[in-house]
Symmetry: C2
Subunit: 301 residues, 2 copies
């Protein structure tokens, strides 16, 4: 089945979905995005994703081109047209198209809105989580505003690629002070010997991960002690457990960092408990029946 | 006249030149670019631009999709088809199109190659240079690899925009140590009381500006003393002169930083001399007669 994309009001075969070469995301990385998990056909944590999207747009002073309701409908429609039951939906909004010039284009320039959906294999992610993953550390090289979810992702690309070539699953950024900031596309966590669940504060050079925020709610409700503070690579290497959180993988135990086993080198009880909690929590929005009853993937002007 | 763009082997009206939404520059800022001055129809410093382009591609491990000769022909053809006599030609090469995934796409994925040309008004730039410009400083927020000319330019966009909204012409980045790194899209220089012409070393968190390199050659040939070292904002505020260099503006005197006049608040003799030297040097490649004799702007497969 041909994949379908939404672009500026139309649903098109992905092969036909294109943006002008003067789109500001293409020229300047001048755009923001969200990746939302799809589980059993429903969007997970939609409200939090839309709230974060609104913040990203506000921080970059891109006018929101659509209301939350319209964006939600687009996301659901893209999921439906791609027949994604489990996977993710991707949304990107850019500052629009204008003759190349660093300065913002004229007021009223329409933002570009793009969405696509991808199926994933939940069983494969479960197997990965059951085994735990190995990560390598890389120097923190990103710009200062990684708290905004922009498409300025080249250092993340290079970090992930370096990890894969080293036979690892992912990379963790470590700053000049020796502190772990986050993973290439996830938040990083440890569980200390004192049974504290530790992750860096969200205002401290890390992204405000939606799954991170959801997990924080779960911690409180399950009697686990959250500490939001920076932690060093040394502390991570000596931790009882380590794990990462993202919309695409929920909780992913990390069993090895830079070739050194964490704890006993297997996913620990807290990580496993938290993964189970997140994965078994009810989908936080109702499955989508479809705004349109047809299942054609044709162009809708 | 409709503007023309080159894209992956074809010359198209700009309005038809588009890239798939899964292009890696659009999704990840995973691409590099060059801006080359066009003067009297000729490319300025072509060889140095192509050499730097090759380095950028190498640093990001994007396979060069075309040889220097082919790229040179494309640049000339884009200039010719847009009838640009004075202005600039823009070239961008990305890691190509692939399903969204931080890791590099499969080997053999074709890079995307895009080029456009823009006319400028040399007299207007001359007037701007004659008056000198005012800049404001902004904190250095960029990623660690600004020595590579990537499209990861969002901090540059935000810096330039902040400057314009403050009534200034441009922004200078100042790092945590109080040192000027470079301008939003130019290299930054000062002339000290000791008649030293100072700019930050090119391996030190600044771009290897082509005009910067050309100017360095001119300094030696004109008995001016170059010192490549970092300089602080305080030193710049107390300097005799300040200026910026870029392919689009050559040498642009800076007469005011953060509201404080530099020297006597007018373009100084060294800045003016260097601008004259650069602007009056012979175009460093012969004007292009055209690979094709027609002047149609049609599609060429």
């Amino acid at each position: 089945m041909a994949r379908i994309a939404y672009i500026n009001g139309r649903y098109l075969p992905l092969s036909m979905a294109a943006v002008p070469i003067e789109d500001r995301a293409f020229l300047f990385a001048d755009g923001v995005y969200e990746v939302c998990e799809v589980r059993e056909g429903a969007l997970i944590d939609e409200e939090r994703h839309l709230k974060r999207l609104a913040r990203s747009l506000r921080e970059l002073r891109i006018a929101a081109p659509l209301g939350d309701g319209a964006i939600g409908t687009i996301l659901r429609e893209v999921v439906r047209r791609n027949r994604v039951r489990d996977g993710m939906v991707y949304l990107q909004i850019t500052r629009g198209v204008a003759k190349r010039n660093h300065a913002f284009p004229a007021a009223g320039t329409a933002p570009t809105v793009v969405a696509t959906a991808y199926a994933s294999d939940p069983a494969a992610i479960d197997r990965k989580a059951a085994a735990g993953i190995s990560v390598m550390t890389v120097p923190e090289t990103r710009w200062a505003r990684v708290d905004i979810k922009t498409v300025s992702l080249l250092p993340n690309v290079l970090a992930r690629q370096a990890a894969l070539e080293a036979g690892k699953s992912d990379a963790w950024f470590v700053n000049a002070a020796g502190e772990v900031t986050e993973a290439a596309a996830s938040n990083a966590w440890i569980v200390t010997g004192g049974a504290e669940v530790v992750t860096a504060p969200a205002d401290d050079g890390v992204l405000r991960g939606v799954t991170r925020m959801v997990l924080i709610d779960h911690l409180a409700a399950n009697g686990l002690r959250l500490v939001e503070r920076r932690f060093s690579l040394d502390e991570a290497l000596g931790a009882k457990e380590a794990f990462m959180t993202s919309a695409t993988s929920a909780v992913l135990p990390v069993v090895n960092i830079d070739g050194r086993p964490i704890g006993d080198g297997k996913p620990g009880p807290v990580s496993r408990q938290l993964r189970t909690l997140l994965r078994s929590s009810p989908a936080r929005s109702a499955p989508y029946a479809g705004a349109l009853r047809d299942t054609r993937s044709d162009v809708i002007p």
